[in-house]
C-alpha cells in the first residue's frame, strides 16, 4: 500500500440539526451549522491553503494563509475561523488572495532554513507543500534579517527532536498538547518575533511532557520530528493496523520504507483513538526488531541445559512427541495450555481449539485470569454479557464520571485524554482509589470527590454508596421496575438499606469520611448521565467479582444503563484481553462465553471440529501450577505470556514449572517463563501477521502484516503446526478463514468477517443479524440476560490482614512508560523514564523507618521478600505502599500472595500485608534469580542450523 495521506479538513467536525448550504468557488456544499468555511471547502473538495489549522484542533486563525473572499463582505476573512452561513458565496482563489498568501509565505521563508524551503514526494512537509502551492520563488527580505536559525535543537527526548530553526510558531504543538492530549506541557514563550515554543523553559525530557507524540504529529514543518524519521528517511508505504499495547486498541499507520518501520502514526479514522496515541504505541515499538528477539526455534532436555537452535520441524516434532508421551504416561489431563492476550483473536482461538481438540481436555486458560476474570463473571451474572457496556465515545455524553481502581492517564492514556476533554467541558469527577492518581488534580481537571479508601474495602464503599442511593430515595424506580428482576432488587434493597451498610457504619473500615461518600453517592445518582470506569483495582481482590456486581447493582438502581453516557466499563489491560476471553480461552467456556457443560453448544463444536469434547471445565492457571507442584500436571504450552513474572507468588509458579516435563514457550523473547522451558518457539510481533484484536469496548480491529515474521512463522502458523503434529489436523491458509469459523460457531460474532472489518474500519460485537454493523452501547432497551439481576454483595474482609509483623499494605500497578512485565517496553528507550521499579511510600511511614528518598529497602510479605529503592510520595496514604512489576529483577510478585477472588481465582495483587525496612543487599531471591537466569538463558549457537 502506498503512503497514506489522510485528508485534513482543517477544523473539527460540527454536529447540528441545522444544515447550511453555501457555495465555494461556485460549487454548492451543504454542511452542519457551525462548520468553518475551511471545512466546508474541504468537503466540497477544495483545499484552502493552511498551516495552523488541523481538523483535530479548534481553529486558531494565526497563519493567515487560509484567507478567502466572501461576496458582499469587506476584507479577507480567515476561512478556518469563519463559520458558514446560508447562501454564502466564497472565493478561495483570486489574484488578491494569491498575493496575500505569497506575502505570508515570504515572511515565513525569511526566517526559515533556506535548504528546507523546498521538498517533494513522500518527504514533503505541509510547509513545503504550501511553499509549492503559493509558488514562492524569491524571498525579497533576504535571509540576513533577525531570525531563529541558530537556535539550539532540543534532542533530549529519546524519540523526537525539536529544532526551533524550523518552527513557524503556528502553535499546533501547543494546542495538540492541550486539546488532544490534555497535558498542557507546552506553551509559547515570549511575544512577537521572540515567540518560541517551550516546554516550560526546560528541555522536553525534564518537562511535564508525556511523549504522546501529538505535538510531533501536529507539526507542519518537521521542527518536531521523530528521530527514526531522521535516521531512516521518509517512509513510502503505510499499513493500517492496531496497537499491541493496552486495551484501548489504538489504530495506527505503520509507515515503512523498504522492509523497515520508520514510524507509527496514529490513524485518524481509528474509532478508539481518533488519531491520538501514547508514548508506548507511538514510539515504543523498537522492541520488534530488538537484538534480544529469538528468531530460531530451540529445544533442550533440561531447563538447566543450554538452548540448542533447531528447525521448526524439529522443535514442533519434539514438543508434540513430548506432549503425547506425557499424556500416555500421566493421562489426558496432565497437559494444558495458556492462550495469549497479546496475540490475535484467531491465534487465541486456535490455541484453545488445539487444547480442546488435540490435547483432548479443557485445560486452557489465559492471563485474563489474573486481571479481568471477575469482570467476566460479575457482568455476566448481573447483565448477561462478560464485557463492558459502552464504547469509548460514550464518555462524551457522560455528566458524571466515576473512576474506581484505575489510573487511566498511566495505563490507558489515550482514553484518559478523551476523558479529560470531557472533564474540561464540565463533566463532574469522582475517583475511588487508595492513591492520589494524576486525575485527582491535573491541569484543568480536578476531581469533585476523591475517596481514598483503604485497599481491600471496595465492596464496603460500593455498598455504602448504594446505601445512600436507596435510603435517600434516589433509586430510579421506573427503570428498576421496567428493566430489572424486581424480586432480586427488593431483596437487595432490603440488604443494602441495613444500617451496617451505611457510610457512617463503614467509615472506620473504608477510611473515608462518611460525608464524602454520601455526597459522592448523591452526585452519582442525581448528576445526569453517570458512567463508571474501572480497572484492576476493582478486580484483583478476594472480592473482585462481588465488587463488579456491586457496581452493576448501583448502575442499575440509578438507571445508569443502556444508553450513551452511562454504563460500567472495564478498562482492560492488554490489547486483546477482551478477545482472548471472547475466544473461549477459559477452561469452562467455549467461544462466546458458553459453558462447556451445555451439551447443545458442545455438540455444535464437536460437529464442526470433528472430535468429542470434554464436558467438565478444565484447570485454571493456578490449578495447573498447584497440580504441577503436586506432580499430576506435567506439560504446558504457553503462548505469549510470562506467568513467572506476572502471576502472584513467583516462587510457587517457578516450583510448579520446574516440576513439569515439557514446558513449551512461544514468545518474542526469552521471558522469565522460558527459563523453565524445554521448547522455545519464536513468536511473531503484531507487525508480522494478520488477524484481529478486540479492545475494551468490544471493538474488533484489524492487525495487518507490515513485515514478514522474523522467525519465519506467524504464531497461528506455529500453533497449527503443533496441532498437526499432535495428530489433529488444521488447514487454514489465512487468519480470515479462522475468523470465518469463529463467526460460524459464535452467535455474537456471526456477522464478523475480515471483509466487513476492512469495510467499516472496525466492528463492535455483538455483530450479527440483529446488529449487522455491531453494537457500540449494550443493553439498550433490555439486558442481554433479560431482566437485570441484583446480587447481594456482602462485604467480607480479605484474609490478608496487616499485623505487627506486616503492618503495611502493598498494592501494585503499572506506570505510563512501561507495560506489564516490560518484555516490550524494557527493550525500548522508555527506560529513560522508568529504568527500575521503586517502592512508593508515604513520608510518615518512611520517616518512622528512617527511610530517605532513594534508599534501598526490603519489601517483605509472608510469601517472600525483595529489595528495591524507595520513593517518598504524598500520592500514597499512610499505611499503604505501592510498586510496579515491570522489571523481572525486582520480583514484585515474589511478595504477592496466593489469595484470590472467590469466584474466579483472580489474584489479590492489590492487597498484600508487608513490612518495609532499610536494606543493604539484594534479597536472597533476587540473588538466586540472577544466577538462575544466567544459567537458563544460555544459547549454544549451531553453525549448521538448518532452517
Amino acid at each position: 500500500m502506498a503512503l497514506i495521506r489522510e485528508t485534513d479538513y482543517g477544523t473539527p467536525k460540527r454536529i447540528s440539526d441545522t444544515l447550511v448550504t453555501l457555495e465555494i468557488d461556485g460549487k454548492p456544499v451543504t454542511v452542519a451549522a457551525g462548520t468553518s468555511v475551511m471545512r466546508a471547502a474541504a468537503e466540497a473538495g477544495v483545499q484552502v491553503p493552511k498551516l495552523c489549522a488541523s481538523d483535530n484542533l479548534e481553529a486558531f486563525g494565526s497563519c493567515r494563509l487560509c484567507l478567502v473572499e466572501v461576496e458582499g463582505r469587506r476584507g479577507t476573512p480567515a476561512s478556518c475561523t469563519t463559520p458558514v452561513e446560508q447562501g454564502m458565496k466564497v472565493k478561495t482563489q483570486s489574484p488578491k488572495l494569491a498575493k496575500l498568501r505569497m506575502g505570508v509565505m515570504e515572511l515565513y521563508a525569511s526566517d526559515h532554513p533556506r535548504e528546507m524551503l523546498y521538498g517533494s514526494g513522500n518527504g514533503q512537509t505541509e510547509f513545503q507543500e504550501m511553499v509549492e502551492i503559493v509558488g514562492l520563488r524569491e524571498v525579497r527580505y533576504g535571509h540576513t534579517g533577525k531570525n531563529h536559525l541558530h537556535s539550539d535543537k532540543d534532542e533530549s527526548n529519546p524519540y523526537f527532536t525539536f529544532d526551533p530553526a524550523m518552527c513557524i510558531v503556528c502553535s499546533r504543538c501547543v494546542r495538540a498538547c492541550e486539546e488532544v492530549q490534555g497535558t498542557f506541557a507546552l506553551t509559547i514563550d515570549g511575544r512577537g518575533f521572540a515567540s518560541v515554543v517551550s516546554a516550560g523553559d526546560k528541555p522536553f525530557i525534564e518537562s511535564e511532557c508525556v511523549s504522546c507524540g501529538a505535538c510531533v504529529q501536529a507539526c507542519p514543518t518537521n521542527s518536531l520530528v521523530e528521530k527514526t524519521y531522521i535516521q531512516k528517511g521518509a517512509p513510502d508505504r503505510s499499513v493500517v493496523t492496531t496497537c499491541a499495547y493496552c486495551g484501548v486498541g489504538c489504530s495506527f499507520k505503520a509507515e515503512l520504507t523498504n522492509n523497515e518501520v520508520v514510524r507509527m502514526m496514529p490513524f485518524k479514522d481509528g474509532k478508539a483513538n481518533h488519531g491520538h496515541s501514547c508514548v508506548k504505541g507511538r514510539f515504543a515499538w523498537g522492541y520488534a526488531t530488538h537484538k534480544d528477539r529469538i528468531t530460531k526455534p530451540m529445544i533442550r532436555a533440561k531447563f538447566t541445559d543450554p538452548w540448542r537452535e533447531v528447525s521448526w520441524e524439529e522443535a514442533i516434532g519434539h514438543a508434540a512427541s513430548e506432549f503425547k508421551r506425557i499424556q500416555a504416561k500421566y493421562g489426558r489431563d496432565s497437559i494444558g495450555g495458556i492462550t495469549s492476550s497479546r496475540c490475535t483473536n484467531e491465534e487465541t482461538y486456535l490455541v484453545q481449539k488445539m487444547i480442546r481438540a488435540a490435547f483432548g481436555n479443557n485445560n486452557t486458560d489465559t492471563c485474563a485470569r489474573v486481571c479481568h476474570s471477575p469482570t467476566g463473571y460479575g457482568l455476566k451474572t448481573t447483565l448477561g454479557t462478560s464485557a463492558g457496556t459502552q464504547d469509548f465515545d460514550s464518555v462524551e455524553a457522560a455528566d458524571v464520571i466515576v473512576i474506581i481502581g484505575a489510573n487511566p492517564t498511566d495505563a490507558h492514556p489515550v482514553f484518559a485524554s478523551q476523558m479529560k476533554r470531557r472533564l474540561r467541558k464540565g463533566a463532574r469527577l469522582i475517583i475511588v482509589d487508595p492513591r492520589r492518581i494524576d486525575l485527582v488534580k491535573s491541569p484543568h481537571v480536578q476531581a469533585d470527590y476523591h475517596l481514598p479508601l483503604l485497599p481491600g474495602t471496595n465492596v464496603a464503599i460500593i455498598n455504602a454508596l448504594a446505601h445512600v442511593v436507596v435510603n435517600e430515595g434516589l433509586v430510579n424506580e421506573a427503570f428498576v421496575k421496567e428493566r430489572c428482576d424486581v424480586a432480586a432488587f427488593e431483596q437487595w434493597r432490603k440488604f443494602i438499606a441495613e444500617e451496617r451498610n451505611s457510610p457512617e457504619s463503614l467509615e472506620h473500615i473504608i477510611g473515608v469520611p462518611a460525608a464524602d461518600v454520601s455526597a459522592a453517592a448523591r452526585l452519582y445518582a442525581t448528576g445526569g448521565n453517570a458512567a463508571i470506569y474501572y480497572g484492576l483495582g476493582v478486580t484483583e481482590h478476594s472480592q473482585g467479582s462481588t465488587m463488579v456486581m456491586g457496581m452493576a447493582n448501583l448502575a442499575m438502581a440509578t438507571g445508569n444503563m443502556g444508553r450513551k453516557g452511562v454504563g460500567i466499563s472495564p478498562l482492560r489491560g492488554q490489547n486483546n484481553v477482551q478477545g482472548s476471553c471472547d475466544m473461549g480461552s477459559f477452561p469452562h467456556e467455549f467461544p462466546g462465553y458458553r459453558h462447556v457443560s451445555d451439551s447443545a453448544v458442545r455438540e455444535q463444536f464437536e460437529k464442526a471440529w470433528h472430535v468429542s469434547l470434554q464436558s467438565e471445565p478444565g484447570l485454571r492457571i493456578p490449578n495447573m501450577i498447584d497440580a504441577a507442584v503436586d506432580g499430576t500436571f506435567k506439560g504446558i504450552y504457553v503462548q505469549g505470556e510470562d506467568i513467572v513474572q506476572s502471576d502472584p507468588n513467583t516462587q510457587h509458579i517457578s516450583t510448579g514449572l520446574a516440576a513439569m516435563e515439557c514446558v513449551v514457550v512461544q514468545d518474542l523473547f526469552l521471558n522469565e517463563t522460558a527459563s523453565y522451558a524445554h521448547v522455545f518457539l519464536p513468536g511473531s510481533s503484531f507487525l508480522e501477521k494478520d488477524g484481529t484484536f478486540t479492545n475494551a469496548e468490544r471493538r474488533i480491529s484489524r492487525v495487518r502484516k507490515a513485515i514478514e515474521p522474523l522467525g519465519g512463522l506467524a504464531d497461528w502458523e506455529a500453533t497449527m503446526a503443533l496441532s498437526n503434529a499432535m495428530g489433529y489436523p488444521m488447514h487454514y491458509s489465512h487468519p480470515s478463514e479462522i475468523m470465518d469459523e469463529i463467526a460460524r460457531l459464535t452467535p455474537t460474532f456471526a456477522g464478523v468477517s475480515f471483509e466487513k472489518i476492512d469495510q467499516l474500519g472496525s466492528v463492535q460485537w455483538p455483530c450479527n443479524d440483529k446488529a449487522p454493523e455491531g453494537t457500540p452501547v449494550m443493553h439498550i432497551g433490555g439486558f442481554v440476560r433479560g431482566k437485570g439481576m441484583f446480587m447481594i454483595t456482602e462485604f467480607v474482609p480479605t484474609d490478608e490482614r496487616t499485623s505487627g509483623r506486616f503492618p503495611l499494605i502493598l498494592t501494585t500497578g503499572r506506570i505510563l512508560s512501561q507495560y506489564n512485565v516490560g518484555a516490550q517496553t524494557r527493550r525500548t528507550d522508555n527506560n529513560v523514564w522508568h529504568d527500575m521499579d521503586v517502592l512508593e511510600i508515604h513520608p510518615s511511614d518512611a520517616e518512622n523507618r528512617g527511610i530517605k528518598e532513594g534508599d534501598l529497602v526490603s519489601l517483605a510479605s509472608r510469601a517472600g521478600d525483595i529489595t528495591l529503592p524507595a520513593r517518598i510520595s504524598e500520592r500514597m496514604q499512610p499505611g499503604v505502599v505501592y510498586t510496579t512489576f515491570h522489571h523481572a529483577m525486582t520480583g514484585a510478585n515474589v511478595v504477592t500472595t496466593e489469595f484470590s477472588d472467590w469466584a474466579t481465582n483472580c489474584p489479590e495483587y492489590k492487597v498484600t500485608a508487608v513490612q518495609v525496612q532499610l536494606a543493604r543487599h539484594m534479597s536472597e531471591w533476587q540473588e538466586h534469580y540472577l544466577e538462575t537466569r544466567k544459567q537458563t538463558t544460555r544459547i549454544e549457537k549451531e553453525s549448521t542450523a538448518n532452517d
Partner: protein, 530 residues
C-alpha cells in the same frame, strides 16, 4: 465650615510635584492654625498649569498654578486663601478660557469634586443616571444608549447600544461587563484622568450597563502603569459597596452588581478586547479570533460587554439627561463629545472635552496654543501609535470618525500628538513598525514576522539600499499586514507607515546618512533572536 483647598491627586499633577505641594499646604494650615483642609481632587486637565491649586471662595473657586512646594508659604503670605493676587493667580477656574470653551459632559465633575466622596458625587448629579435606569426596562436602557449615538471611545467607534443589545439578546446564566482601562495609546490619558478624578461615574456607568444587559458582574482591566488609578478605583469601589451602590442590592433595587478592578501585566496588546479577555481569564494575552464576538462569547465564554472607560463613564449622563440631550452635540454620525487629549510638541497640553466637529487646527491652536518649541508644526498623529500622520494641509479635518477615515486617518481614542519641523517621518515610520514588533503578541504571521521585517526594510530605505525595490516591498508588506493580520495592531500599523510615505515622501528620498552618522543596521547582521 472649614475652607477647602484643592490640590489634585491626579497622577499627571503628582508627576510635577502635587504631592509635595499638598504636604506643604497641610503644613502651612497646621503651623498657621487655620481652619482649612486640603482636598485631593482630580485634574482639570490643563497640564501646563499643574499643580493647579484652587481655593474655594465666596466668588467661586480661584486657581493658582503651576504651584511648587517652595512657593506655598509665599501663597499663604500673599493671602491666597482670600483670593488675593499672586504671581500664580489665574482667577476663577471656570473662567480660564481653555476650560470655559469646553463642553464637559463626561468630565463634568472631574477636578471639581472630591473623587472619593460619594456625597460630593451625588450632590453634583451623580447616580441620577442609575436612578432613572432603575425605572426602565433593560431594553429601554439599551434603546436610550443606542439613541444617544454613543460610539466606542476606545477607538473603534462601534455603536455602544448595538453592542449592548447583542449581549442583552444573548441568553446566558452569567454575563459580564468588562471595562477596558488598558489605555496604551501614545498621548492619551482621558481614561486615567476620569478613573482618578471621578471614579464613581465609571462605577455608575458599569452598573447601568450591567442592568441593561443582565450582567451581575463587572471587571475593570487596568494597565499596570496606572497604580494610582487602580488604588483610587479600589477605594471608590469599597465605598460604593459600603454605601449599597454595589453588591447584591444596588441602591435598594434588589438587583445585584459586583465590580472588581484587575491589573494587567504590561502589554499594549491587552488593550485589544479579546487579548484583554484572555488576560483577564489568567491566560497569556493573545488575540482571539472573531467571530464569535465577545458580546456573544466573551469572558469565560459568556456574553460580555467590553467598553472603554470613557464610553462607560458617559452612560450616566445619557441616562440622566436623556439620549436627545447627548446626541444634540456633535456632527454627522459622531454624536456627543470627544475627549481630546493634546500631547507631544504642544504648548498647552491637556484634556479638551468638546462636541465632535471641532477641527484639528482649532484643537491644536485654539486650545493647544501651537507647538511648545515655537517651531512650525509639521505633522500630527491622531489616534495613537496606529494612527496616521497628517500634514499641515489636513489640519482643517473636523474631529469626526468619518472625516478622519476618509483621509485614511483615525480618530481613535482622541489622542493628538503634535510634531514640529524637526521630525523625520521615515524614522517615525520605522518607529511604528518597531512599536508593532515590540508589542505584537506573536500570534499571527503578518504581525509577528512582518513588523520585524518592516523595521529592517525601512532601515534599508533610509540607508538608500535598493530604495525603489524596498519601497515596493514595504507596500506589499503593508498590504499583507492590513488584509492579513488577525487584529487591529497588525491591521492598522500600515496607517502611520503609509501616511508618512504618502504625505512626507521627501523624508524617504534623502541621501543615505553619512557613514559617521550611520547607525549599524541590525538587519544586516545574521543574529539569532534572543
Amino acid at each position: 465650615m472649614s475652607l477647602r483647598i484643592y490640590v489634585p491627586g491626579d497622577a499627571a499633577a503628582m508627576s510635577v510635584g502635587a504631592e509635595a505641594v499638598a504636604k506643604a499646604m497641610a503644613d502651612q494650615i497646621t503651623s498657621r492654625r487655620l481652619d482649612a483642609s486640603v482636598v485631593r481632587n482630580g485634574s482639570r486637565g490643563m497640564f501646563w498649569l499643574e499643580p493647579l491649586v484652587e481655593v474655594e471662595t465666596p466668588r467661586g473657586r480661584i486657581a493658582y498654578g503651576p504651584v511648587t512646594a517652595e512657593e506655598v508659604p509665599g501663597l499663604f503670605d500673599a493671602g491666597f486663601l482670600e483670593a488675593k493676587p499672586h504671581r500664580l493667580y489665574l482667577g476663577l477656574t471656570e473662567e480660564i478660557p481653555y476650560l470655559k470653551k469646553q463642553e464637559r459632559l463626561t468630565f463634568a465633575r472631574c477636578g471639581i469634586t472630591d473623587p472619593l466622596s460619594l456625597s460630593d458625587y451625588v450632590s453634583h448629579g451623580g447616580y441620577r443616571g442609575l436612578e432613572r435606569a432603575l425605572t426602565l426596562t433593560p431594553q429601554a436602557i439599551v434603546e436610550e444608549v443606542t439613541n444617544s449615538g454613543l460610539r466606542g471611545r476606545g477607538g473603534a467607534g462601534f455603536p455602544t447600544g448595538i453592542k449592548w443589545r447583542t449581549v442583552l439578546n444573548t441568553a446566558a446564566d452569567q454575563k459580564y461587563v468588562v471595562c477596558n482601562a488598558d489605555e496604551g495609546d501614545s498621548g492619551t490619558y482621558a481614561d486615567r484622568m476620569i478613573m482618578e478624578g471621578d471614579p464613581f461615574v465609571l462605577i455608575e456607568g458599569m452598573t447601568i450597563a450591567g442592568f441593561a444587559v443582565g450582567a451581575t458582574s463587572g471587571y475593570i482591566y487596568l494597565r499596570s502603569e496606572y497604580p494610582h488609578a487602580f488604588r483610587q478605583l479600589q477605594r471608590a469601589i469599597a465605598i460604593a459597596y459600603d454605601k449599597g451602590y454595589l453588591g447584591e442590592n444596588v441602591a435598594g433595587s434588589g438587583k445585584r452588581f459586583d465590580l472588581e478592578p484587575r491589573m494587567g501585566a504590561g502589554a499594549y496588546i491587552c488593550g485589544e478586547e479579546t487579548s484583554l479577555l484572555e488576560s483577564l481569564e489568567g491566560k497569556r494575552g493573545q488575540i482571539r479570533f472573531k467571530p464569535p464576538l465577545p458580546a456573544i462569547k466573551g469572558l469565560f465564554g459568556q456574553p460580555t460587554v467590553v467598553n472603554n472607560v470613557i464610553s462607560l463613564a458617559t452612560v450616566p449622563i445619557i441616562l440622566d439627561k436623556g439620549s436627545q440631550y447627548y446626541r444634540d452635540f456633535g456632527m454627522g454620525k459622531s454624536r456627543g463629545t470627544l475627549t481630546i487629549q493634546l500631547a507631544g510638541n504642544i504648548k498647552h497640553g491637556g484634556l479638551v472635552e468638546k462636541a465632535f466637529g471641532l477641527t484639528l487646527r482649532e484643537a491644536i491652536y485654539d486650545f493647544g496654543g501651537g507647538t511648545a518649541s515655537g517651531r512650525p508644526l509639521r505633522a500630527v498623529q491622531a489616534g495613537g501609535p496606529l494612527g496616521a500622520y497628517f500634514p499641515e494641509s489636513l489640519l482643517d479635518t473636523p474631529l469626526d470618525y468619518e472625516a478622519f477615515a476618509e483621509r485614511k486617518g483615525m480618530l481613535g481614542h482622541g489622542g493628538i500628538v503634535v510634531f514640529d519641523d524637526s521630525v523625520d517621518l521615515a524614522h517615525q515610520a520605522r518607529f511604528a513598525m518597531e512599536f508593532c514588533a515590540v508589542e505584537s503578541c506573536g500570534k499571527c504571521t503578518p504581525c509577528r514576522v512582518g513588523s520585524t521585517r518592516g523595521v529592517e526594510v525601512i532601515d534599508k530605505i533610509i540607508a538608500n539600499q535598493d530604495r525603489v525595490q524596498n519601497l515596493e516591498l514595504l507596500g506589499d508588506l503593508c498590504e499583507v499586514l492590513t488584509d492579513g493580520s488577525l487584529c487591529a495592531l497588525g491591521g492598522l500599523i500600515p496607517f502611520p507607515v503609509q501616511s508618512a510615505i504618502r504625505h512626507f515622501p521627501e523624508d524617504f528620498d534623502k541621501p543615505a546618512p553619512s557613514p559617521s552618522a550611520y547607525r549599524p543596521n541590525r538587519a544586516q547582521e545574521t543574529q539569532p533572536w534572543h
